[in-house]
């Protein structure tokens, strides 16, 4: 009876299946099919034998990775940099959004357009622009240093500066996008709240703290949780292009995603790369699902997916 009902509904609404089919097939091919490819994490990949016929090696690929010095380094870099990114991008975009909100419509259009531009250009373009600043000889920073008689710094060989450089580049790229998100939220605040606060004699700071930031809080929590859910993932392009894949900088700039790329392309150890990728996916999945659960608990509307 129930089965009949399902079949009947499917038959009656088959056009919906036809509409969904191409999308389903593509997701099947590029999102689900690769899951079967995960078996290579447990294999010693031999292209001449083919993927499935390669020898099983159990957890050897995982062991090899976790015993290597790289495991700690890339995990630390990924987590530390992502945390820095989350903190700085959130603080700065919220600040910009609040400033835009108080200034009103006058400057909105220009500021928003300009801040948004970096979000649209690729990291390759960003790496061109970065070079103008940190080039060892002609870069703006080194020109200024030599102008005041200080010694020049070759940034492409000094890993420690890259915490700062990467954070600045990241904030530059995403602040426009996030501040639009926050600003849009601010527009939905009921203006009578401010009028009421005025009557009660609240100062501007009090109004910002108790009304503006309070109203933004659910969104801040949600976006931060989303960031934490994705903390094991990095923007490959950012790390690859800004640093020019420079080995000297790996102590700070080598992250899980660049490591996996090298396992595929330069070290040529796809089995180990897939093993690292599998660990990353499983941890990432657990984190995102928990972040979503927490977000839902805080705010019914705040579910991420």
């Amino acid at each position: 009876m129930k089965k009949n009902k399902v079949l009947k509904d499917l038959r009656r609404k088959y056009p919906l299946l036809i509409l969904a089919l191409p999308g389903v097939l593509l997701i099947l091919a590029f999102n689900y099919l690769p899951l079967t490819g995960l078996v290579i994490a447990f294999k010693n990949v031999d292209y001449s034998k083919g993927i499935f016929a390669s020898d099983w090696v159990g957890f050897k690929n995982f062991e090899f990775f976790f015993k290597s010095f790289d495991a700690f380094r890339i995990t630390r870099n990924t987590l530390v940099l992502n945390l820095l990114f989350i903190v700085f991008s959130t603080v700065i975009s919220v600040t910009i959004a609040i400033m835009l909100y108080y200034v009103g419509k006058n400057m909105l259009k220009v500021t928003q357009t300009v801040l948004f531009l970096p979000y649209l250009v690729s990291w390759i373009v960003a790496s061109y622009a970065l070079e103008a600043f940190i080039d060892s000889r002609n870069g703006v920073i080194n020109q200024s240093l030599s102008a005041i008689g200080a010694e020049s710094v070759n940034f492409y060989y000094q890993p420690n500066y890259w915490y700062v450089i990467l954070v600045i580049c990241y904030v530059w790229k995403v602040a426009g996008y996030y501040s639009i998100l926050y600003y849009t939220r601010l527009l939905s605040i009921d203006p009578t709240l401010y009028e009421a606060a005025d009557i009660d004699g609240a100062t501007t700071w009090q109004k910002i703290r108790y009304i503006t930031i309070y109203m933004l809080r659910p969104m801040i929590v949600m976006l931060v949780l989303l960031g934490i859910g994705n903390i094991f993932y990095s923007d490959f392009g950012m790390f690859y292009f800004l640093t020019r894949d420079n080995g000297m900088l790996y102590p700070v700039t080598d992250v899980i995603d660049t490591y996996i790329y090298r396992a595929l392309r330069t070290i040529n150890n796809p089995g180990m790369g897939a093993a690292v990728g599998l660990v990353q996916s499983v941890l990432g999945f657990i984190l995102v699902v928990s972040a979503n659960a927490i977000s839902k608990k805080i705010d019914e509307e705040g579910s991420l997916f």
Binding site: L26, T36, I40, N138, F305
Partner: protein, 309 residues
């Protein structure tokens, strides 16, 4: 005594308001200044790309990179125009991939999103679960690479650039939330009037979802126009190199030459920084010029996307 009291009482609020107005004006001016500085800081890196593309090599050697070059030259552009085959070809590849990809991408994404949004459809739950899981769990780079090159045999084809990015679960959810905003009464009315599923979809849903189509379409379009990753992974053939990948190849070739030849004066033999920046300008200019016109739709898509994924 009493009068005096009155006077003070009368004056006080006035003075206070005046003070507050002054204060507001000053704080507003400070805000304008800060925002102005932020705006300048944000545009300067992009300005540098434009300015360096027209700075002469000698003035760079002498004064370094500066926003105010002593000498302006279009040598870099003539250098590129003299040898335009590669860049024109890359432009062609990027345009084909972007147009075809955006068109097919919007079509596939909307179809799937519509089926997912229909709560009365029995397959609705299965479809939603199917897309949600794809959004949350990734096979990762290496299994995907092996599937695309070894099983699907898409390596070094134009199709790999289009198909891999065609439908993203994220965009499907975004589109679904746009479509969910259409009142179900409209669909019901259409069915009562005897319209078929296809008629309802193309005549009612599609037109009403236009803002959503624009937003998602723009996201897909930017994704294609900016994409270097698929090319870097799957394309070795220079004939199939899209524009962003070309930018990367230029820079990595220069890097390679500089690292491996201490003897040649690289500045004389290879594209100078000017030529590289000029290539960059040629690649990003169309997008930057077009951006202000569709900023509204793009911002709308992005805001909705994050608030309700």
């Amino acid at each position: 005594m009493k009068e005096g009291h009155f006077q003070i009482l009368n004056r006080c609020p006035l003075k206070r308001t005046r003070g507050i107005i002054m204060k507001i004006k000053i704080s507003k001016i400070i805000l304008y200044l800060i925002l102005g500085l932020i705006t300048i800081a944000w545009i300067v890196p992009i300005l540098f790309i434009f300015v360096l593309s027209v700075s002469s090599g000698e003035s760079i050697l002498q004064y370094g990179y500066t926003l105010f070059p002593r000498e302006i030259t279009f040598d870099a552009y003539t250098y590129i125009i003299k040898n335009p085959a590669q860049i024109i070809n890359s432009y062609k590849i990027s345009i084909i991939v972007t147009l075809l990809g955006t068109f097919l991408g919007v079509l596939c994404t909307t179809g799937l999103a519509y089926a997912m949004s229909r709560k009365d459809f029995v397959a609705n739950k299965v479809l939603n679960l199917f897309v949600t899981f794809a959004l949350l769990f990734h096979g990762g780079l290496i299994p995907t690479y092996i599937v695309v090159t070894q099983w699907l045999h898409l390596g070094n084809t134009l199709w790999v650039l289009i198909l891999t990015l065609l439908v993203s679960p994220w965009n499907v959810f975004l589109m679904r939330s746009f479509i969910s905003g259409i009142p179900t009464e409209l669909l019901e009315a259409s069915f009562i009037d005897g319209a078929t599923e296809f008629q309802t979809y193309f005549r009612i849903v599609m037109p009403l979802a236009k803002p959503g189509l624009a937003s998602v379409g723009l996201l897909i379009m930017f994704g294609y126009w900016n994409d270097w990753y698929q090319g870097m992974l799957y394309i070795d053939d220079m004939k199939l190199t899209p524009l962003p990948l070309l930018l990367y190849k230029i820079i990595s070739n220069i890097q390679y030459v500089l690292q491996n030849s201490q003897y040649i004066n690289a500045a004389n033999n290879f594209p100078t920084i000017g030529a590289r920046m000029a290539t960059c300008v040629i690649a990003i200019a169309p997008m930057l010029l077009a951006f202000p016109f569709f900023q509204k739709y793009l911002a709308k898509g992005l805001t909705l996307g994050s608030v309700k994924g």
